[in-house]
Amino acid sequence: MNYLVHLKCRECGRTYAPEALAACEQCWAPLEVVYDYGRLWADLRREDIASRPANMWRYRELLPLNGEPWVGKQTGFTPLVAAPRLGRVLGARELYVKNDAVNYPTLSFKDRVVAVALSKAREFGFETVGCSSTGNLANAVAAQAAAGGFKTFIFVPADLEPEKIVGTQVYGATLVKIRGNYDQVNRLCSEIAQKYSWGIVNVNLRSYYAEGSKTVGYEIAEQLGWRLPQNVVVPMAGGSLITKVHKAFEELKKLGWVEPADAKFFGAQATGCSPITTAAKRGTTEINPQKPNTIAKSLAIGNPADGYFAVKTIRGSGGAGEDVTDEEIVQGIRLLAETEGIFTETAGGVTVAVAHKLIRQGLLNPGESIVLAITGNGLKTVGALNGNLGEVEAIRPKLADFEEHYLSPAPAAAA
C-alpha cells in the first residue's frame, strides 16, 4: 500500500506530483515527501510492525516507494545498545548508542537512504545512477547499485581516505575523482544531474533518499519500547539526518505510537567544518559557508544543503549545536571503543566528543535519557588514528621476553 500524497516545498509550500524532482521550481528549496497520515492512522497499528522482519522495511508504509524495495532488503534495524560504561565516563545516567556502524551492507547509515533512493530510481526507470560523496554514500551507492544492476558514477574529492576509495571501486562503479573539496564535487554533480537523466541519489532523488533516514528515528523509538528519548545527539554533514530523525519522531506522535513527549536535538560537527553549529550557537538560521579543514572528512561539507533546516530543528527543540577539535574527535573514537567495544569512524568520534562537551557545558542533561547516533564504522577512517595508539615493539617468541615486557612486576603463577 502506498501512502505517498505528493512532494511539497519546505519553504513556499508549493506541491508537486511525486516525480524525480530535485527542488521547488519556484524557490529552489528542497521538497518534502508528504504522506496521508489520516489513512496511515486508520490502517496501520504499531502491533503490526512488531511481527515484521528486523530491517528498515518494517516501516515501509512510511517510506516513499510504490512497491517492494529493489535493493537493501536487509538494511537497517541495527542495534540500540545501552552504554553504561560510557555513561559513567560522561556522567550520563541513561545513555544509548544507535549503532549504524554495523549497518548492512556497507557499515554506515547511508545504506538506509540508498536503499530507498535506488529502489525509487528503479520505479522511475533510471538505468544510470550516481552520487557525490565524502565516502559513506559512495560505498553504499556502489554496493547497492551493483546488487541492483545499475550503471554507476560516483563522484568524490580526490583526497578521500584510501579505505573509502577501495570500498567504492571494488563494486565495479565508475569512480570519478575530483581535484577539489566536497562542495566543488557536489556542484559538478548537480550540473551533471541537471543535464543528463541520471538518478543522482543526493540530487534529483534527494527527497526520496532523505526519507530513508527516518528509519533511524523509528528504530530508536521502537527499540526503547515505543518511547522517545529525551535527547538525541546527531552528527551533521549536509544536515539532513537530524531533520529526518525529528520528522520520524513527529510522525510517530501523529500516529499515536508514542506518547506526545518532546526530544531535544543536539547537532554535532567538527570545529574545522562547523557552518551549522556556528549558526546554531549564534542563534541564527543564516549559514555562512566554510572551507572544511578537519579529519572528519565524512562531515566535511562547507555548504550544507539542509543547514538551515538543521538549525531550525535544533533550536526549535530546545537543543544546541556544538563542535569539537580533531584531537577531541580521536579521543571520542577511542573512548567509545574502550568503554563499549564499538569502533566508529571520525563522525562517530565527533558525536561522542560533542555529547561530552555539551554535558560539561550544562546544555545536555545527563540525568535524562540520551541516544548517540553512531553513523559509520571505524574501519572506514582507520588513518585518523595514525600515531595515536602507540607503537608496539615485537618480541621474540619466548615466555621470558613476554613476562619481562608485559608482566613486570610478575603476577603469581598458576599452581
Partner: protein, 92 residues
C-alpha cells in the same frame, strides 16, 4: 564588465533554452536586473523582492562560491564566468 552566465537546465526555461548568456554587469544586483531586461521574468527566479539572491540559489564565479568573494559586494571582472545553480545537493 562583460561576463558569461551559465544557465543550468532547471533555469533554461527562463532563457528560451539558452545554456549560456553573455551580458555585462558590475555586481550581482546589476546582473539580476540585466538578465531580467533580456529575459523578462527571470529575476523572480533568481532574487528576492529586495534584490538579494534567493536563499536556495548558489552562485559561483569561476567555480568559487560568490559568498567567499564578498557576495553582493563582489565586483565582476572582464570575462568572469558566473554559474547560477539551484542548491539541490547535499549529503555525504
Amino acid at each position: 564588465m562583460p561576463i558569461i552566465v551559465r544557465v543550468p537546465t532547471p533555469l533554461q526555461k527562463y532563457t528560451s533554452g539558452a545554456e549560456t548568456v553573455e551580458t555585462t554587469a558590475r555586481n550581482l544586483r546589476e546582473l539580476f536586473e540585466r538578465l531580467d531586461q533580456q529575459f523578462p521574468g527571470f529575476k523572480q527566479a533568481l532574487s528576492k523582492a529586495d534584490g538579494t539572491p534567493q536563499q536556495f540559489l548558489n552562485i559561483y564565479v569561476n567555480d568559487e562560491d560568490i559568498r567567499f568573494l564578498g557576495g553582493l559586494q563582489y565586483t565582476f571582472q572582464d570575462g568572469d564566468e558566473v554559474l547560477l545553480l539551484p542548491a539541490i545537493a547535499g549529503g555525504a
